[in-house]
């Protein structure tokens, strides 16, 4: 950060030319795509409205899926038991690169997933989001609601090659999985300076007239301990490429790591895979939890050592089932 700061300072001192002055105050700094990667330009809702080749009934179903995606809180108490919407993490309608665009799930599944150690369908992947990120349960496989969600994903993938896996801007990731040395206090400072203005001093988020505007980052209203976002590298990459809102790439890599660690050092609803013992659960799912602070001691507290499922009246949705083909 210091280096970057010094360079920009030097640049502004040395060359006060109109060219420099015309540079944006807040540039959009997103990672470069790698050579040979497939880059997808997902269609917009205007494209959908104009496309006469799509049957009106299908349009209706796609738009229903989109509406569930954008305003997932309409499913509060049915499928969703926290304050999030799909678009809270999959920003820009699930279309945007580096903001976990959702269409690759439609072109790369079914596939084996490390998280649950079996081959997953697109519906199962969506069920995972509902179970962990939304601290809830999924619409039933094959249901109208699930069909609408699937239709939205597949329509966004229009034109993308099936099983092409070398995708530019997939996920959030470019920071890699190697953590730098992390300091809770440093993360707390980054949080206070950059995040608290919207998400609140205690990560509680902000709402207006009962509608969530800035989602809570921890506590009962946020994602549970089994969500991908609890992995520090996932949160760090999301933050680096999407936050603060409108300012992607404005934090240094280190600031993103530190604040991701700070946010994920706070309590949140229990991992639905909880066995009744946090250390046992951490060990059982260590391929996932080696990237989280769950079941570790932070500031003298063993994180995740509780039975709190937030406002969700159950621990594990029935839909989370192993599959075998023996």
């Amino acid at each position: 950060m210091k280096l970057k700061h010094t360079i920009s300072l030097l640049a502004s001192l040395l060359v006060a030319s109109p060219v420099i002055l015309a540079q944006p105050e807040v540039p959009v700094n997103l990672p470069e795509f790698k050579e040979g990667q497939y880059i997808h330009d997902a269609p917009t809702v205007e494209d959908l409205r104009k496309d006469d080749s799509i049957h009106p009934e299908l349009k209706k179903v796609i738009l229903k899926g989109r509406d569930m995606f954008m305003n997932t809180q309409q499913l509060r108490g049915k499928y969703v038991f926290n304050d999030l919407n799909c678009k809270s993490c999959h920003m820009g309608e699930g279309r945007m690169n580096w903001s976990a665009p959702v269409w690759p799930a439609a072109t790369t599944l079914p596939d084996f997933r490390g998280k649950n150690q079996h081959v997953n369908s697109l519906e199962e992947r969506i069920a995972g989001c509902f179970s962990f990120s939304m601290n809830g349960k999924s619409p039933a496989y094959g249901s109208d609601d699930m069909l609408a969600m699937v239709a939205y994903h597949k329509w966004l993938a229009t034109g993308a090659p099936v099983y092409e896996k070398n995708i530019g801007g997939r996920g959030f990731s470019h920071l890699g999985r190697e953590k730098p040395e992390l300091s809770y206090e440093r993360g707390q400072e980054v949080y206070a300076e950059n995040c608290a203005v919207c998400h609140g001093e205690n990560g509680q988020g902000q709402e207006k007239n009962g509608e969530v505007v800035f989602p809570p980052l921890w506590g009962d209203g946020s994602y549970n301990w089994g969500a991908g976002m609890t992995r520090i590298f996932t949160a760090a990459s999301f933050i680096q490429n999407n936050m603060p809102l409108g300012k992607p790439g404005s934090l240094t890599d280190d600031e993103a790591w530190q604040v991701a660690n700070f946010i994920n050092s706070q309590e949140r609803p229990q991992d639905p895979r909880y066995t009744g013992d946090v250390k046992e659960t951490r060990e059982k799912y260590l391929n996932f939890h080696k990237h989280t602070n769950y079941g570790t001691v932070v500031n003298g507290e063993l994180l995740g050592d509780h039975d709190n499922t937030g406002t969700k009246p159950f621990l594990k949705p029935d839909i989370l089932q192993p599959r075998t083909f023996e």
Binding site: C198, Q206, L245, P248
Partner: protein, 218 residues
């Protein structure tokens, strides 16, 4: 500064701020000040009207019903040179912080007047404004206004003011001020980032749309 001393300082500042706004700000004193002015220049009511509705033609914003802390910050910023307006500054530069908080409390508590301005633009322009306000233009990294200004763009908390039903001329002038680096008092440059990506056409459209919306849910 160490983290601890920073936290103590932050705590002390928060304590002061809440003390000043919650315990002492007096809307009735604010009402008198709004009518009298600061002793030089024009009183508030001359431009912002007795009902706090402002004036679209002149580009004077509606103040009635806006968040008290937001209003106070804007006036304090004028007096500290953090926000610049040759029209506004001379009229409030003699107010002290207490008087500013009284004024802010007065305007915040006022009933919201009907300030909706019928848009004199084409349907397609209005549709573009509606899209920017509620869906954004993500391909140009412009999040929707509502992602910070809240449901119906009627404001969120102390930082993000209500912009629905605000005067379109005022909205346009402020977006342009951010875009042209003449207004810089937004926290973390959150508004600067968006304003400088908006085209003139988009600014006109979003100002017309927001101005045509009701400031209240009724």
């Amino acid at each position: 500064m160490t983290t601890l001393s920073r936290m103590i300082l932050a705590g002390a500042l928060i304590g002061l701020a809440t003390g000043a706004t919650a315990a002492e700000s007096d809307p009735e004193r604010g009402a008198q000040l709004a009518a009298q002015g600061d002793g030089s220049g024009a009183p508030c009511v001359a431009c912002h009207s007795a009902d706090g509705s402002g004036n679209n033609a002149a580009g004077f914003p509606r103040l009635a019903g806006l968040d008290s802390a937001y209003l106070a910050k804007q006036m304090l910023d004028y007096n500290a040179g953090e926000r610049v307006s040759p029209v506004m500054q001379p009229n409030i530069n003699n107010f002290d912080e207490q008087q500013i908080r009284d004024l802010a409390a007065y305007y915040a508590a006022m009933p919201v007047p009907q300030t909706t301005t019928t848009a004199d633009v084409g349907e397609d322009v209005l549709a573009l404004g509606e899209k920017l306000a509620n869906q954004g233009d993500w391909d140009n990294y412009i999040p929707p206004c509502s992602s910070c200004h809240g449901p119906g763009n009627r404001g969120v908390g102390e930082i993000f003011p209500a912009i629905a039903g605000q005067h379109p001329n005022y909205i346009r002038s402020q977006i342009n001020a951010w875009k042209n680096n003449q207004r810089n008092n937004d926290p973390n440059q959150l508004m600067t980032a968006v304003a400088e990506r908006l085209t003139e056409e988009q600014i006109d459209a979003v100002a017309a749309y927001l101005g045509s919306q009701s400031a209240t849910t009724e």
